[in-house]
Amino acid sequence: MVRWHLDTQRDDLQAAVLDFDALLYAESVAEELEARDAGLYRMLDEVGPAYELQYLEADKRPRDFVIRPVRIACQNVIVGLAAFAHEPSIDGMSVLAWQTCEVPHVATHEANRALAALMLCDAFASGGTMEIRFDRPANLTAHGITAKSGERVDVDVTYRGHPEGGRVPAGLRRYGRSVGVFLGMDDIHAISPREARDLFLAVTPMPADLGARVHEAYRRGVASPERLCFVLLSQIWREPELDFMLAVSDRTGSILRGGADWRCRGQRQAESEIARAALMIGMLYRRLDTKDGAGDTSSPARVLEDNRVGVTWQILPDVAAIRFFGVRAGPVPWQPPLSNGRAAIEGAATITVLPRAILDSTTLHMASELAREGLVAVVTPSDSDSDPDEANRAGVLLLRCPDRLGELDQAIERKLLSARISRA
């Protein structure tokens, strides 16, 4: 079962898999639609208003055991609604609502994928076994008048699990089938920890190389698959950053756990160098992969909607470098002025970048060797006193990341703290 669009500008969105069996597809859609009204009522008239009254309007942060509504919208169309809570009595997660739909302007199964990603990240951060149950009872009580809208809220209800009979929602099972993960097989009312692991890996977008490195990393025990997916989905470390770290170093496991003890300065120094390099290439990637012309005076308005260029990357592990493909024509960003003027590089489709805290002779030699094959740059922090003319003479571009070394270290410290206080 595939989905054909009558009107789309992107060929890669055509023929996306909806299901692998027409009968299963029809059955699951019927099952989903049968419970839709009950689910919508639960979300829109009970869970939503109760949450608004007790947390949103009270400016209060809910604890993980509170039933929390989640809404996913794309261009003013709501494509996904769900409500879930950590359930200490099973040391897992309880899902009480799950409503998704397919719309023409959103990729096939995207609502289920995005909701599943949010739910799995929540399950990971809340601790527990990663079991996700759809049949747990729950009470919801809220009485009062919302402060802003003045709406009267009177909710006093007991739920007996998800409206689709407490089974894993049909839409989610259908999405699972489309990516080769069969959900509810161990127990029709739950996603088992084993299935949750497979689903986490399926919903986390990863280019093929990174996917292979992630697989190799959890096979070697660098980190659990759940942690690696959480790191990516919560953007503690972004895709090119994690790819780079996994490819070039054996210290990535320690970085993902929050870093070595500060007293072991040698170890911390090595980890800092790796993390700084990863952070700089992450920033450069985002700069290269955006059409956003914040400084473009020719355009009257700054457009921030889907402005990605589609730059891809490949890590060169033996020289600790990254090669970007599909870079737009124009000046390469972050170039400092040269003594003979600013180097204008036009139409650079591929660029190889060596991220380093300082441009030393070894790096320069390595970069100039690579420069025989194409455009090569070394990226350093903005307060590095490396000489762009010296790099230029070696046939290499010097790029200065906008952040100074201290600022990079501050950003790394925040990432390491996030890693330390998320679960083991």
Binding site: D64, H86, P88, S89, I90, D91, G92, G127, T129, M130, E131, P137, H143, D187, A190, P193, A196, Y218, R219, R220, G221, V222, S224, P225, A247, V248, S249, D250, R251, R257, G258, A260, W262, R263, C264, R265, G266, R268, Q269, A270, S272, E273, I274, P317, D318, V319, A320, A357, D360, T362, T363, L405, G406, D409, E413, L417, R420, I421, R423, A424
Partner: protein, 353 residues
């Protein structure tokens, strides 16, 4: 794959500011020990200063005539700078560096994680653990338990496994409600049997200090005539308790910082040890503790209470006070000091001998 390389660079101390920088690094390191657990201001300062020195050494290395020696990479505690006072910390094979230190200069270790070569992966690396098994609690008749009863059953099961010394078993207080945690701990502290110091592991993977279970024979009676104090567990957390209490046991600003849970537990434990000693200095004390559900603070406090009772049995009694939700529209039928309390509390089982 790139490999890591380590070198020692000779840095002349007559260069501007090097001597001061080394002094600052050492002083920042000394200050870290005085900070609260999880407080990283001095650590960040130490790391920032160390980075400055390492960058200076990298710049120096680029100059003609710079001296360096390659050394074996050892991930041991220590600064990246070596001077005459800690020459014995220099790794084997760094004889040249010893001579630099004797001459009054310093050696700075530089790590280059991006040298060419094949990355060596840790020999002890093991695959990631398998997914966990689902967990469900059942009563004596095999019916599934829900809500608080299930949470209590889970905590009891973990505690029992931990005191029995099962492999990998530990107390896991994260997500366990205030009352279940306090009463559950008390039950196992007072349990007869061989005393057991059980590990405490939080949801974030951090470990608190071990908790002494089966260590004290607790009684249920509240002592009469003892000096009485009423404390909220945390300041500025549930201010509606203020009318009931004399003060707060912990300052919220110290406890509620983002840090690994095990460090918060350790901080709460150490503060409680000090404060319990002070409170009991001039005779036995009875504490009514108005609790909030912060698991790390509860563990830290009751670990200190247990140890205090082990060493000074007749000096302390603690009565936990648990918040009880008032029914919607129910009238308040009491006042404290002329004020109408906004919350009601129920007494838990006392911790005393």
């Amino acid at each position: 794959m790139s490999v890591e390389r380590s070198i020692l660079v000779r840095l002349p101390v007559d260069q501007l500011g090097i001597r001061t920088l080394v002094g600052d690094i050492r002083s920042a390191a000394a200050r870290v020990g005085k900070a609260l657990p999880g407080e990283r201001t001095d650590i960040i300062r130490y790391e920032g200063l160390s980075s400055r020195l390492e960058q200076a050494a990298r710049r120096h290395l680029a100059r003609a005539g710079a001296q360096y020696v390659e050394i074996d990479m050892i991930d041991a505690p220590g600064d990246s700078v070596f001077d005459r006072d800690d020459a014995d910390r220099l790794p084997a094979g760094a004889d040249a560096a010893r001579a630099w230190l004797t001459a009054g200069d310093v050696a700075v270790e530089l790590r280059d994680p991006f040298a060419s070569g094949q990355t060596v992966h840790s020999a002890f690396a093991a695959p990631a653990p398998e997914p966990e098994d689902p967990w469900e609690a059942f009563d004596d008749r095999g019916r599934p338990l829900f809500g608080t009863a299930a949470i209590a059953a889970r905590f009891r099961q973990q505690a029992q496994a931990a005191v029995d010394g099962e492999d990998g078993a530990a107390l896991s207080p994260s997500g366990v409600s205030n009352r279940v945690l306090t009463e559950g701990l008390r039950e196992f502290v007072a349990q007869a049997g061989t005393p057991a110091w059980v590990p405490v592991i939080y949801r974030d993977g951090s470990a608190g200090p071990a908790f002494p279970l089966r260590s004290v024979a607790l009684r249920d009676e509240i002592p009469v005539g003892w000096r009485t104090h009423r404390f909220a567990l945390l300041s500025i957390r549930h201010t509606e308790m203020d009318v009931e209490v004399d003060g707060a046991w912990f300052r919220n600003t110290d406890i509620s910082r983002p840090r690994p849970a095990g460090q918060t537990d350790e901080l709460a434990y150490k503060l409680s040890q000090t404060q319990l000693t002070k409170v009991c200095e001039s005779g036995p004390a009875l504490i009514y503790l108005y609790q909030t559900g912060l698991d790390t603070a509860i563990l830290g406090f009751y670990r200190a209470v247990t140890e205090h009772l082990m060493s000074r049995p007749d000096s302390l009694a603690v009565v936990p006070m648990f918040f009880r939700r008032r029914r919607e529209g129910a009238a308040v039928d009491r006042s404290v000091g002329g004020y109408e309390p906004q919350s009601t509390f129920v007494e838990g089982t006392p911790w005393t001998i």
